[in-house]
Symmetry: C2
Subunit: 86 residues, 2 copies
């Protein structure tokens, strides 16, 4: 593996874990009012697009990273509706 591939794998790993601290924070605080639902929906839709693309090309790191982000975005959508204060 050359250094460019290493950067690609590190980037894919970091993209996969991006929303973990946000899910953890919401789970602890039960507070979601400052989160943009539009952002979360774009994240969810973009993971679906990336999954179609990556499955077609059998890009396993992209498939794995986007599956994780897709799952986390579904959690955030659920939290957004469950914990939003009027």
């Amino acid at each position: 593996m050359n250094w460019i591939e290493v950067f690609g794998h590190v980037g894919a790993f970091m993209s996969a874990v991006t929303f973990m601290p946000q899910v953890y924070k919401v789970w602890k605080t039960k507070s979601v009012n400052d989160l943009s639902l539009t952002m979360i929906l774009i994240v969810f839709l973009s993971t679906i697009i990336w999954l179609v693309y990556a499955v077609a090309l059998m890009l396993w790191p992209v498939i794995i990273a986007n599956s994780i982000v897709c799952f986390l975005s579904i959690l955030l959508i659920y939290f957004k509706f469950a914990y939003e204060k009027k």
Copy 2:
């Protein structure tokens, strides 16, 4: 352009605009307490990693998308420190 490439471009576009609604929401509400700083820092660092990777391979859609997200993550870091309520 075949349909797989179209999905790749749509995915890159959606990833680039992901944080725009969040930046807009924070700019309107001046409220950032529910946002995870760890998430924003991971986003910022991952765009730097992806930029090194994409410049090395001259992947223009990845370079453009990550430049936009990098700029938006710097804005969110600034907002997080400027508007955080103790």
